[in-house]
């Protein structure tokens, strides 16, 4: 059983607070959950909603069907009436037409007025907990963590209790699976956390939805970690600053969305030719240009892998889910350092703004690899050549001031082994090939093959990349339940593209369907250009909204099977 709670209202009504407190309470009660945000690019008014879907089985995607609708305004009921399930409940402060569904009229404002008018939303949280039959104890602790001021926390606890007392229980929930040692976090926090744990010391960025919360997270930790977050004057400066930090010897990163990434591209090339390690998060939103600022899309794929003029050595990784966002961020720093290249983390608003539970990370297993010379190697450095031509293409990297008597010169012009500007054909060729060897080595030794889920004999193979993994998992489950033998291949390394698993799966002869969140089937085109394989069908979505598992399921049925 999976239950879906939708909380809707205007921007500025405090939806995120309800979402956070309710979500965390459900999480701490031991359930699996997945919460997501659907919001407009505005500060007041409009219509926003959050959804919390939970169960005692893993939840990996959103659902369009609503069990409990918390309506902070009347419009929310009008807009979401059609999504209400047969047994659904609507909670609203006042009277409203629910189309025959159960209405709980909760006088939240009147209740809050007596205690603390700013805590209206907490009354709703209390009511929802009671309706679900969940214990209120966990919510009290969550409120204490959330509201730093004691009086405010106390007021909210009172309001929570009032809401709880006001309504009846409706659901008889199965006991929680009793999950242990779990974390509950969104995709951008997973990236920020991954960067912090990888030892990032400098994050320079310019605010842009939906990437900004990475910067917020690291900024909130900068005192504790002793690191620096700088708000750059623009994205061009942001990446160039990060490159300066990396050249100076510290792990550096930037993050943005498509528009900012477009401004960064010249410096992506600089990182490539000057061989400066850097990690760049592009949290995609629908483009072109300003597009839909707070919505989701996987439309930057071909742009990201081709970022920068010329043949830029780079890597693009698209995290599949929250755990992967953390792990891939950590890994990106190691690979950037080892191969001295820019590594682009291609996430999107869906992953960035959705949160879910996952098993806690085993930090002692993680190893930071800076790719810097050992003390013995350092001692041997004489007449240092930043771009020494080596068999692997990787040159020993030191930072300025590290070795007495030696200077470090990097150059955006084509250069010789010392980093000096050159124009000679032979040296140019040698340097292009040196950079090429690094990428060849990376492709041969480092790539993660896509994960495969499904039986060995299948009729349908669904292929996805990045954040569509969760919805695809549900869709494949539904398809198999409906009797269609379906497997799933989900990529997270997208450039260079690992092709081994892909070719061997496709060769087995199932009908191949690529599912993407863009209009022009970018991943299908990439597969074709890298392997010559052509998918039978692309399922595409470009309305700025994420897939639900059921939507993919239905579209496979209607667009492929029928």
């Amino acid at each position: 059983m999976k239950l879906n709670i939708l909380i809707g209202g205007e921007a500025g009504q405090g939806l995120n607070t309800i979402d956070l407190i309710l979500g965390k309470t459900i999480f701490r009660s031991g359930y699996h959950l997945f919460s997501s945000k659907d919001y407009m690019s505005r500060i007041r008014g409009g219509h926003n909603f959050n959804m919390i879907r939970f169960s005692n089985e893993p939840v990996t995607a959103i659902s369009d069907e609503v069990d409990i609708l918390v309506a902070l305004n009347e419009e929310t009921v009008t807009l979401h009436k059609d999504q209400l399930k047969e047994q659904a409940i609507v909670i609203f402060d006042g009277d409203v037409d629910t189309g025959g569904k159960e209405l709980i009229s909760l006088p939240a404002r009147t209740i809050a007025k007596e205690i603390n008018p700013r805590g209206v939303n907490t009354v709703f949280v209390g009511a929802v907990l009671k309706i679900l039959g969940l214990s209120i104890e966990k919510a009290r602790a969550v409120l204490k963590d959330y509201f730093k001021k004691e009086e405010v926390a106390d007021d909210n606890i009172k309001l929570l209790e009032k809401g709880y007392q006001k309504v009846n229980s409706y659901f008889n929930l199965p006991a929680a699976s009793g999950l242990k040692d779990q974390l509950y976090l969104d995709g951008n926090n997973a990236i920020g956390l991954g960067a912090a744990i990888a030892g990032v010391q400098f994050y320079a960025a310019y605010p842009m939805s939906p990437s900004t919360s990475i910067m917020n997270y690291l900024a909130s930790k900068q005192s504790q970690l002793g690191i620096v977050v700088e708000q750059a004057e623009d994205e061009i400066a942001a990446l160039n600053m990060a490159l300066g930090g990396s050249y100076a010897g510290i792990r550096s990163m930037t993050g943005t969305s498509g528009g900012g990434f477009a401004l960064m591209t010249e410096a992506v090339g600089l990182a490539g030719i000057a061989e400066i390690p850097v990690v760049i998060a592009d949290i995609q939103r629908p483009g072109p240009a300003t597009g839909l600022p707070t919505r989701t899309e996987q439309g930057d794929l071909l742009f990201a892998i081709n970022a920068g003029q010329g043949d830029v050595p780079l890597m693009v990784v698209a995290p599949r889910d929250h755990k992967d966002a953390f792990e891939q961020t950590f890994r990106s720093f190691n690979l950037a350092d080892k191969y001295q290249i820019p590594v682009i983390i291609l996430s999107d608003q869906f992953l960035a703004d959705s949160a879910r539970n996952l098993e806690s990370f085993q930090l002692e297993r993680l190893k930071i690899e800076r790719g810097l010379p050992s003390p013995e190697e350092l001692a041997k450095i004489k007449d240092y050549k930043r771009y020494e031509i080596t068999e692997t293409g990787i040159s020993p990297r030191i930072y300025p001031g590290q070795v007495p008597g030696e200077v470090v010169l990097i150059d955006s012009d084509e250069h010789d082994q010392y980093g000096h500007i050159i124009e000679g054909a032979a040296m140019r060729k040698a340097m292009v090939e040196k950079r090429g060897r690094k990428i060849a080595k990376l492709a041969a030794e480092e790539l993660l093959e896509p994960v495969y889920q499904g039986g060995e004999t299948i009729d349908f193979l669904l292929i996805g990349w990045g954040s569509s993994y969760g919805p695809l998992q549900e869709a494949v489950q539904l398809l198999n339940q409906a009797g269609y033998h379906t497997g799933l291949l989900s990529f997270n390394d997208v450039w260079p593209l690992p092709t081994g698993e892909l070719t061997s799966r496709v060769e087995k002869g199932a009908r191949v369907i690529v599912v993407e969140n863009n209009a022009t089937a970018q991943f299908s085109r990439l597969i074709r250009s890298e392997t010559g394989l052509t998918a039978e069908k692309s399922i595409l979505k470009y309305d700025g909204r994420p897939y639900s598992g059921k939507e993919i399921f239905q579209r496979v049925i209607s667009e492929v099977i029928q």
């Binding site: 970690l225 004057e233 600053m241 300066g244 990097i410 150059d411």
Partner: protein, 283 residues
């Protein structure tokens, strides 16, 4: 310590007689007299003839993108306060393509010296107008003369209240050397606009043109007086003042980074397991 060798043996891409040569000479003497070892100096530059300096002098160098010499230098200020940072680029690079970075770094006041080779022209791209090219001057792209108002870097920097603003001239070697030394020793952002002819593409602002106009500010001039400096910044045309036009001591970029201690970030490292506490927020 004359023992340090800064000049590289490389053949330059500069025209014989280019103002970049005397500028390099002044810079090398300044570094020598300040007894800075080559590995203690980091030079950031953009793209242009001036911006090739890191190839013709032996210090650490970051020859980055056109207009983007300043942003990477901030990364060094974050990572390692121990090294001397010199940003060096042309007038087009600094005042044109890189204008936004200029304005914001004056606000940040990082501890660095910014040497702008102001030949009042785009040299490398063969003679188009730069922001400082004089009014009515004709070029291949502005055959009817430049109509936009010229940019006055001194007035701009003062308007932004830069903590150190100076003007030098390559024809005044000793004066320029002393100016560069003072700028390097200034704690904070120091802008030195350095007049130099472009013998190939700027037929107006020649050595002679400058020599007829420049004069050195003397002891009577007080560079700590902001109002006086503002008035001085207006002076251009018939008479062009050289020297430190304005200076003040104020906190630098790194002073505001209270989370940092004396140990440079570049000498610090962490182990993932030490950061277990970060997971608490998500439980």
């Amino acid at each position: 310590m004359a023992g340090f060798r800064y000049e590289s043996d490389r053949v330059t891409a500069w025209c014989p007689g280019c103002g970049n040569f005397p500028l390099r000479k002044a810079l090398v003497s300044a570094l020598q007299e300040l007894r800075l070892a080559p590995e203690q100096v980091v030079m950031y530059s953009g793209i242009g003839q001036a911006a090739k300096m890191p190839h013709y002098i032996r210090v650490n160098g970051f020859n980055g993108l056109h207009g983007r010499a300043l942003p990477p230098s901030l990364g060094m200020r974050v990572a390692n306060p121990g090294l001397k940072v010199i940003v060096e680029s042309g007038d087009g690079d600094t005042y044109g393509e890189g204008g936004n970075h200029l304005l914001h770094n004056i606000r940040r006041n990082p501890d660095l010296t910014h040497l702008v080779h102001d030949n009042q022209i785009y040299g490398l791209t063969k003679g188009q107008a730069s922001p400082t090219t004089g009014p009515d001057q004709t070029t291949s792209v502005q055959p009817n003369g430049i109509t936009a108002q010229p940019f006055n870097p001194i007035r701009f920097a003062l308007g932004m209240r830069a903590s150190f603003v100076a003007r030098g001239f390559v024809g005044e070697q000793d004066h320029l050397k002393e100016l560069i030394k003072t700028a390097i020793e200034h704690r904070g952002y120091a802008l030195v606009d350095i007049l130099q002819p472009c013998i190939s593409f700027n037929k107006v602002n020649t050595y002679q043109w400058y020599q007829q106009r420049v004069y050195k500010l003397d002891q009577d001039y007080n560079p700590n007086d902001y109002r006086v400096a503002i008035a001085k910044a207006e002076e251009w045309g018939e008479r062009i003042p050289l020297g430190v036009i304005y200076r003040e001591e104020r906190p630098v970029f790194r002073d505001y980074l209270q989370q940092l201690d004396d140990k440079p970030l570049v000498e610090k490292s962490v182990q993932p397991a030490d950061l277990e506490y970060l997971l608490e927020d998500f439980r």
